[in-house]
Amino acid sequence: MPTTAPTRQATVAARAVTKRFGDRTALRDVSFEAYSGELLAIIGPNGAGKTTLLSILAGIQAPTGGEVSSPGRKVGWVPQQPAIYSKLSVAENLRLFARLEKLSDPDSAVERMLDHTDLHERANEEVGRLSAGNQQRVNVAIGLLCEPTALLLDEPSASLDPRQRERLWGFIGGLAGRGTTVVYSTHNVVEVERYADRVLVLADGELLFVGTPGELGRAVGGDPRDFEAAFVRFLDLCGH
């Protein structure tokens, strides 16, 4: 479900970003731009540096070298594991983060998010009692509270069943359609093929490819319908 051609206005950009943890280099000279209304997927094997790159874009970690530009507080962040309080209810979690975001009307923001996530009926239930899928919906909703210009998601569909996944991507696609830049990491190459406008391939901290999923398939030849095989072959060709 690729969206319409993105408008060419960079909202998130990384320039020669490097990150070291002691002797280990997690990211090496990574540069790219993401545009308004674009869905940009980051894929790569385990330990490629996907989460580190998203953390740096989100402002959680500082890069060792290079720089990032993003619209500051208007970047929504959805970590891989739900960062919510299991002893609080859905509404209390949303209200807490709405207040910490210093939104002018926290209560209406909570209502809006309950509508978006369709969790009105579970609003007063403790988050710890919800299914993993519903917890992830609350997690995403908190990332959207500040109505972000750019939304960063770290493996957002990892704990969801196919129906929940479909619903999540429908929701995220709607955000992109309204001009939000969406950058997400995933291990699910089907999600890349179906939802991403462009894809970044990272391996061992190196940015190996930036382009559309179709361009990645063409780069390695073979069956253009089998994106997963193209991705694996691409990694093999690059020596990863």
């Binding site: 402002g59 959680i60 507080r73 962040w77 960062a83 309080y85 609080l88 983060f97 207040r99 910490l100």
Partner: protein, 450 residues
């Protein structure tokens, strides 16, 4: 910070077991201390057997009788006697656990004492049978009996000395004694010398008796001087040593108040450390830390919130506990503002230590366990008396105690509760310094959280 505090209080409200423990623990401790301090220690049950036949507990010394049976009453002040009638019954009472010990007074004890005080030969002995099963109970019974026996011993020897001094006075100055139901007038050394001196003056100047009688007068003079000196010496043997006690450190804390202070500060420390360490580790366990510190809250503000939450809650619980204990132990209510100040600042310092612990641990369970395990040695080191260890070890323990908030918290609360030395100023400054130091350590530790 306000909304984080509200959030943490909501979380605590939904953890009823934890909150119940936090409230019940200090109150239970306070009640236990109160009851322990306000109830006198019980008397140990001791099987008592006297083999001295009725009416034969008297010893004759000089001009007076001493009834040693009267001293059994003194012994019974310290024990709860179970009167038995044979040695077998005494042993059975101890073996069965009905009595902690048995005390047996043999039949010949009056004769042994009589022989000892009149001829210096004799070994009066009582038999003590103790149950060795429980060392604490054994020591309790042993101490109660030994202390009271020592009192009885002293009382008997004092009585004997009193009789000896009285008889000596009669030898010196004369007096009336009873013998065989009749009164006899004793002449005494002083009167004897006077009569002799008068007789010598009545003798002819060249009488051969004069030198002989003058020798007797000289002996009498020497004896009077010697015995006159001996009387106060004998009198002083009963209490050979007098202790002149001087307190140098101003007002001292009553033992009960000090025990209360230790209990309150230990509870405060335990609750604060567990709460601060646990609530900070919870932010990591719930993966919320990274989301919070990416612009919503600074790490410093987050740590300060945990310190205020833990320190404030624990100080409130400690104040409730102190008020409860003050029902049993008199504390100075006029210094109540200082109670609050000391407990709040102690709570803040312990809270800072707690977040430093929470910063080191990844999980709530690990943080709580670490906090609990640290509490015991911190308190123990601060409470080791100076005289109990060698100089160099004492210096090490002092340095360790200085590095943690327990000792200054104890000093501050001690002064706040009873107005005794040391003054409250330095402990409060010390606590503030430790709060800053541990807060800094926690700030470094949470860098690993993101």
């Amino acid at each position: 910070m306000r909304w984080l505090l509200v959030k943490d209080l909501q979380i605590l409200r939904r953890s009823p077991l934890l909150v119940a423990l936090l409230i019940i623990y200090p109150i239970t401790l306070a009640l236990m201390i109160g009851f322990a301090l306000s109830s006198p220690p019980g008397k140990p049950k001791v099987a008592f057997l006297t083999q001295v036949p009725k009416g034969q507990g008297r010893i004759r010394f000089g001009s007076q009788d001493i009834n040693i049976s009267n001293y059994a009453k003194d012994l019974f002040a310290s024990i709860q006697p179970i009167i038995v009638h044979s040695q077998a019954q005494a042993v059975a009472a101890v073996t069965s656990g009905r009595a902690l010990a048995a005390l047996i007074v043999p039949a010949d004890i009056p004769q042994q004492i009589q022989s000892l005080v009149t001829t210096g030969v004799g070994s009066p002995m009582v038999q003590l049978i103790l149950n060795s099963k429980d060392p604490v109970e054994r020591q309790f019974a042993d101490q109660a009996i030994q202390t009271r026996l020592s009192d009885v011993e002293q009382a008997v020897s004092k009585q004997v000395l009193r009789v000896a001094v009285s008889d000596l006075q009669q030898v010196l100055s004369g007096g009336t004694i009873q013998f065989g139901g009749e009164n006899f007038r004793l002449l005494g050394l002083r009167d004897s010398r006077r009569l002799l001196q008068r007789a010598i003056t009545a003798l002819p100047a060249r009488s051969p008796l004069r030198p002989e009688l003058n020798r007797v007068v000289a002996f009498a003079t020497l004896a009077i001087e010697g015995l006159a000196f001996a009387s106060p010496v004998l009198g002083s043997i009963g209490t050979p040593l007098t202790v002149d006690q001087t307190e140098l450190a101003g007002r001292t804390t009553p033992a009960a108040t000090y025990a209360v202070t230790i209990a309150v500060i230990f509870s405060l420390m335990l609750v604060t450390l567990v709460l601060a360490a646990g609530m900070l580790a919870l932010e990591r366990e719930e993966h919320a830390f990274a989301r919070l510190v990416r612009g919503l809250v600074s790490p410093g503000a987050l740590l300060a919130e945990k310190v205020v939450l833990a320190g404030g809650c624990a100080a409130a619980a400690a104040i409730v506990m102190t008020v409860g204990v003050s029902t049993f132990v008199p504390l100075q209510w006029s210094r109540f503002p200082l109670w609050v100040l000391a407990l709040l600042l102690a709570g803040i310092a312990f809270g800072a230590l707690g977040v430093a612990i929470g910063g080191l641990a990844r999980e709530v369970r690990a943080a709580s366990l670490l906090a609990f395990m640290l509490s015991l040695p911190i308190a123990f080191i601060a409470l080791v008396p100076a005289v109990a260890v060698s100089g160099s070890l004492k210096s090490v323990l002092d340095a360790v105690a200085f590095a943690f908030p327990f000792k200054p918290a104890l000093d501050a609360a001690n002064n706040a509760f009873s107005g005794t030395a040391p003054a409250i100023g330095w402990p409060l400054v010390h606590l503030a310094g430790l709060a800053v130091a541990f807060g800094g350590l926690a700030r470094v530790a949470v860098r690993r959280f993101a």
